[in-house]
Structures are given as structure tokens and as C-alpha cells.
Symmetry: C2
Subunit: 222 residues, 2 copies
DNA sequence: CGAGGGTTTGAAGTGCATCAAATAGTGTGG
DNA sequence: CCACACTATTTGATGCACTTCAAACCCTCG
């Protein structure tokens, strides 16, 4: 089975700005991201573009196309140089339908993804902008329960703002507010969290997820 | 296989206010709703309760428990008298693992559910309160592309407000605003949409979903 | 050096939440 | 059948968070 899958999978790279797939197209490929960031966007009826998610390494792009009508529901664009494993859509469907353990693994993936999306709704509904940024930082860092740590914002602030569902101006002000409220250090794209436990307390009150907020799309490796 | 499933499934009814499952409990049952409304809620860390969804007939409650650690992620409470098919969690897992077509069907269900949740995020992020109400009405009505129609709000306005992620006061004002903007008729819980096409135009601009907004949890029958 | 995109800052406006209170509606016991 | 109690809903007044429009600043790169 693995051999079969491998036979229909090829490594493929994309440069910054390259498009993996367009929103309403019939699927030909499903990707497993290996490195780099991929932006998922959707076009709204009134013509604007909404950033849906930004995926790091180890995520599947286009899995929704396994079901009729086999069309991509988002556009995927490389935000920086990206390497992927490109899996033939037809082969993936065939293998999924013929190998029960594989289908079960995908079911598990899908259910976990759902949990992640439910948390996303909680975040957008109940967290303030500074809290959403802090939440993102904690998840990005895979932060331990306590202590301090330094990390770098993984892509530019404008995109991060869109990913968190806010305007760039709001992001800028919210980050300043977060600094004021929790004493984080800011130096360009570098952020230092003084006290992870305090940040958690500041951030996680409105959510139901137990910390650390497991289901997070922003993960490097996996 | 169906016989096996049926052997571990029993019809079960709940009165208004009865709890089907609690948030962090290990699963024993998965329910298929047959009639009545079931409210899904989550408790946040700071102690308040957030309404996650309100399910009509034909929906699965607790499917997320198929994956480790086999715990319910929400609390489910009957909002009115409810009838369900209660499926043994152990049996469902066993059948899912041993019957590939069944696993595929669940995978399909899960992927569609994901699509539904993605639309929910769009709604909460980009629609105004009046638009969210209009969107709900259109989906509730399985509205045709044009014409007019009358329908009844399926449960009380306070719960509906929570389901749509807003305060009761906001709901009241937003409904009045929707009347002013689109000329709907209001008489208690009865709503008359004068012009479905116009309502669609008023409501759907900020979303990417094609109308009619298919993935909707509020469906009677299924 | 100059152009252009990313980022910050300022000022004003919108939408929703919150607190408070009035009103409508519903079920109960008398 | 009515009065009461209680809840659901509406209405008013105010505040906060985020958006929007505008402009300044900064930084990189040709």
C-alpha cells in the first residue's frame, strides 16, 4: 500500500507567490507540505479575498476534495519557497477506498481538524485582538507551562493579521497592547515572552480548550 | 453489518433540559437525532457557557469521540422533547474499524462537517448581525432562488441569538434592522421573507459559499 | 538616492456589548 | 377567569473594540 502511494507521489517545489490550486477547480492533486508556508484563501461573493489559514510543514492541502464534487474549496498560494509531496488525487481516492486503515487514519485526521476549527471559532468569537495574538504566540512556540522564551514571527505582520482575522492596523495596536499588558519584548519580528504562565492566564480565559491548545495548524514538523 | 449496527442501537427519548452528554466525559454513546432540537455548549475556562450549535433532526452527536481520547468535546442538552437513536460507542468503533464502506461514509460526513464549520467561521468573522440572521433564515427555509415565503423561528430568540454568536439585545435590534433593510414581515416567531433573491443579495456578499449555502446544521429531516 | 511595500500612528466612525429598565408574554394558583 | 410571578423580549443610554481613512515613518532594494 505504501509502495502504491509512493508510486503516485512526487516531490514538488513552489516559489513565493506560486499557486498550488484554485478555488473551484476539480482536484488533481493533494499536497503534504514539507517546508515553507502556504496561504489558504477564499474569494467572497463581493469580490474580496479572505485568508483562511496559513499552513506550515506537515499539513494536508486539498483533502476536502476526497468527497464529491471533488473540488478545491480554497485557493492555496506559497507565501515563501515551499516543498511538498504532491499526491495524485485519483490514487489517493483509490487507496482510501481500498485500504481501511488508511481511511481510518484520514477519518482521524479529519476529526482532529474539525476540533481545530471549532477552537478557531471560539478564538474569533470570544477572544480580543491582543488575546488572539498571544494565543497564536503560545501555540507557535509550543510553549511549556511556565518560564520565558523568545521566538520569531514566522511571516510578515500583514499576513499574520489576516490569519488572525483582523486588520493590519489593529494587529499593530493589539501587539502594542499585548506588550503593555503582559510585558512581552518586541524587536522587529522577534518576540520575547517573559512569563508563559502569565500569558496563558491573559489569553485562554474565553476558550474551552485545555492548555496547551493542542489543535493548532501552525506547527513546524509533524 | 447493518444488523450488527442495529443490534447496538436503541431509540431513546429525552425531555426538555435533559443532558445527553457532558463535556469531558469518556464516550459511551453516539446519537443520531430523529426529532427535536439539541443544544451543544462548551464551558470556557473563565466559567461561562458558550452555545456551539443547535442541531435538528438527522445529525450525529458525539462523533468526535471516535478518536482518542474518546471524550466528548461538548455538552449536549435537549432544548425540547427529543428522540434519538443511541448507538453504542464501542460498537460504532468496532464497525467503523471493520467495515471500510462505513468508515468512508463517516469520512465523508466529517469532511462535509468541516466545510460547514469553515462557513461558520466566515459568517462570524465577516457578516454583520442582521446578515447573520438573514443567512440563518435562508438556510432554515431551504429557500428557493427567488419568490417569497413564510416561516417560524424554530426555538426561542435568546437561544437563536446565542447560536448566532450575539447577545439577545443585539439579536432584537438586528432583527428590526433586517426588517427595515429588506422589508421582512415580523409577527412574533413568524417571519415572512418578501423577496428571497433580495435577501440573498443583502446577506451573502461577505461569504465565499455558493448559494444556497449548502452546509448548514439547521436542517429538519435528513 | 529614490521608489515602494511594510508598519505604525492619528482621528473619526460603526457595530456590538453592557447595564438598566420598560414591556410583552406565559403559566400558575386562587 | 383574573391577578400574580416569572421569563422572554424590547428599548434606551453608554462604552469599548475594531474598522476605516489618512498620513507619516521605516526599511529594503534597485
Amino acid at each position: 500500500m505504501l509502495a502504491d502511494l509512493a508510486a503516485h507521489t512526487h516531490q514538488r517545489s513552489y516559489a513565493e507567490g506560486d499557486t498550488l490550486c484554485h478555488q473551484p477547480d476539480v482536484a488533481h492533486t493533494v499536497w503534504l507540505t514539507m517546508s515553507g508556508w502556504v496561504k489558504l484563501t477564499r474569494e467572497t461573493l463581493d469580490g474580496s479575498e479572505a485568508v483562511w489559514d496559513v499552513l506550515g510543514a506537515g499539513h494536508l492541502v486539498g483533502l476536502e476534495t476526497l468527497m464529491p464534487d471533488y473540488r478545491y474549496t480554497t485557493r492555496a498560494v506559497a507565501v515563501e519557497p515551499v516543498t511538498t509531496l504532491a499526491i495524485s488525487h485519483a490514487a489517493l481516492r483509490r487507496i482510501t477506498e481500498s485500504h481501511p486503515p488508511f481511511a481510518l487514519a484520514l477519518l482521524g485526521h479529519s476529526l482532529r481538524q474539525q476540533e481545530s476549527e471549532q477552537l478557531e471559532i471560539e478564538h474569533r468569537t470570544h477572544q480580543t485582538a491582543p488575546q488572539r495574538i498571544g494565543c497564536f504566540l503560545l501555540r507557535l512556540a509550543k510553549a511549556p507551562i511556565s518560564g520565558s522564551m523568545t521566538l520569531n514571527l514566522p511571516f510578515d505582520k500583514g499576513l499574520l493579521a489576516a490569519r488572525l482575522g483582523m486588520q493590519p492596523e489593529t494587529f499593530s495596536r493589539a501587539l502594542a497592547r499585548l506588550k503593555q499588558d503582559t510585558g512581552i519584548g518586541l524587536q522587529g519580528a522577534q518576540v520575547t515572552i517573559q512569563d508563559v504562565a502569565q500569558m496563558h492566564k491573559y489569553v485562554c480565559g474565553p476558550c474551552s480548550g485545555s492548555y496547551p491548545c493542542q489543535p493548532c495548524n501552525i506547527e513546524v514538523g509533524g
